[in-house]
Amino acid sequence: MTQFSVPWKQSPPLEHRGPARGVVALARFVYSAAAPIVSRFPGLILTSAIVFSTLAVWIHWELFSYLETIAASDLNGTAKSIWGQSLTVGEIGAYLQSNSVAAGGVLKYLLWPLQMELFRDIVGLAAIFQLFNLIPVYAIWWERKVAGRIQSRMGPMRVGGWHGWAQSFADGVKLVAKEDLVPAQADGMLFKIAPYLAFVPSLLAFLCFPLGSYWVFRNVDVALIFIIAMVGIEVVGVIVAGWASNNKWSVYGAMREACQMVSYEIPMTTVLLVPIMTAGTLNMVQIGDAQSGGWFTWNAFHNPFTFIAFITYYIASLANCKRAPFDLPESESELVAGFHTEYSGFRWSLFFFAEYAAMFVVSGLAVTLFLGAWHTPLPSTWAFEETSLFKILLNGILFSSPFWFIFKCFIFIYIQLWIRWTLPRIRIDQVLYSCVQVMFPIACVALVGHAVWMVLLDGSMFSTLIRWVLGLIFAAVTFGFLSVAAFGYRNGRRMVGYLAVKQLPGS
């Protein structure tokens, strides 16, 4: 190996001390064992992953329908929570046997650990943590694919075989293995804890997030404010990171982030009062359950003001999770990535996890509060009677709440990506102008207008008519969007050529 002589001090060779040595050895072993298999059968692995996760969802669905039964048939006729109560094996077995779906003795003992509250909590926390890990990983992969397609290229194609689906995992391995630099002039302690200050709140937001009527870890009565608070607290980590880096660009990024977040929380929270007023509660599960009757009962189509509130919320949420065109804190071209200029390796990836999880959280808020939460566009009364296994399975697919929730959230994440790779970034004074002088008045008008509507017109014929009209407009827009997408998919290359020739200057 050639030794280069360089004028600066060379860093010492890699060495791992203490417990890290074992971890590295384990990682190497796993990599060397898995690499040949993964590179040889990528498609098989992806297919089986999809099949197994579908199966897991189905099993979960079944499990929850059992738990539902337990809750329904409480002796005193009151609804009984499975979370936070003690059950005995006898109770579980009795309920299973009373259920119409055959429940064998083995199943009873498989469910045995569920009687312990601590066990249920651990299972729930592990599931949430997995969700929190997987969503950013796939959002990042998807962002790269979408960016590539928008720029007429393919995006990641290699790792994993089918369209580079394992690219983010490979990136994760790379990031964990990278050197973790702390600048010499930085405030070491703050520099080190700042990524965690950004990461932990966005994880905590998932605790109260309902993915379905029963798919909620803690059904808190103030869940909505809790989630908004968590999204807002995330900014503390960003500011501290920018400050501790002791870098001009980072401090600029941090200050932009601070003033942007503090100002955009006002219109965002104001428009969130609109669905709260409609549902009359801050409990996310109750807000979601109130929208179960098909797409025209969703909160966004309640009246014109809620529709305005929905759009305003979506724009404000873009600014709140620092996506383009409001991505001033981390603008690559002016501030060289802003607050995380000095970060590398694992701490840098923590910022990315926090950012993409925040994207999911704000999209999830939009979906839960305005667009029917975890319900299908179909009324939930259309679900089949669960008489046979096939119908249960069909229900599980068509009316599966986590599936619909995550699907809708990813549509919103897709729109965020689309906006990011289409619109230019705006200036900081334009950001604040649009907040204070445009969004905030609109939010106030929506709030007051909705309150007046609720008092004067709610439940009247006219209100129903308006709701149907808005619902149909939304359906038409969705249909039009899908048709344009389908047309573009069919005529992709020709369309790109046409646009490029016709729209470019000088043509």
Binding site: A79, F129, A177, D187, L190, L204, I228, I239, V240
Partner: protein, 217 residues
């Protein structure tokens, strides 16, 4: 490459913190839920006494108290103003956890959103705008520190003596059912209407005043 154990501990850290938040007794749902298609609800009704005799609650309380007092002490001893603000974040967050333990969910989240999400950011922003170098140190004179410490220790001793020895007329065993949210709403618009309106006027005045003071000449 520094793949150290504490980096891997990041996977444990959020779980630990999450557990802390989660174990705090959670109360829910004051009204009947809208009956969903299954005709049942799984929300936590009221407050359940945990089966372990309050052991978990005690553990939670001691952890919270340790964080509150530890970060408070760090604020007292720290010289760097930005670090002080970050320690203040620890204090505020664990005070919010204490509110959850005290079954005041709404106050807890308001503490998080207003204090940690608003006031603290304002403070850090003020620090950024008013310090020329990142290391704005304002040294404390030794005799000042000693005098302040003695006064505060005496004051703390006096207060602690009162607090520990006093007999409070308490009803600890009351059963609590239902949420405080509806109570909050009705109380703010009936019994506390005048303070509530006064508060809104105050906020308006503060907004105008702050804008006036921070204006460009």
């Amino acid at each position: 490459m520094t793949l150290r154990l504490n980096q891997l501990m990041v996977f444990a850290t959020p779980i630990i913190i999450a557990t802390l938040v989660v174990i705090a007794p959670v109360q829910a749902a004051d009204t009947e839920l809208p009956q969903s298609e299954q005709g049942l609800t799984l929300s936590d009704q009221g407050i359940q006494k945990s089966a372990d005799g309050g052991m978990l609650e005690a553990l939670m309380f001691y952890i919270c108290a340790a964080v509150v007092l530890g970060s408070g002490l760090a604020i007292c001893l720290s010289k760097n103003i930005v670090r002080m603000a970050v320690y203040l974040f620890g204090t505020l967050a664990s005070v919010a956890l204490m509110y959850f333990l005290l079954l005041a969910n709404f106050i807890g989240v308001i503490q998080l959103i207003v204090y940690a999400g608003g006031t603290l950011i304002l403070l850090i922003f003020g620090v950024m705008l008013t310090s020329k170098s990142p290391w704005a140190k304002f040294d404390v004179k030794r005799n000042e520190m000693i005098a302040a410490g003695v006064i505060c220790a005496l004051f703390a001793g006096m207060l602690l003596m009162v607090v520990v020895n006093a007999e409070w007329p308490l009803e600890t065993d009351a059963v609590v059912v239902g949420s405080s949210m509806t109570q909050f709403g009705s109380a703010l618009l009936t019994d506390y209407l005048v303070p509530f309106e006064a508060m809104s006027v105050l906020l308006l005045v503060v907004m105008i005043g702050a804008a006036y003071m921070a204006r460009q000449e």
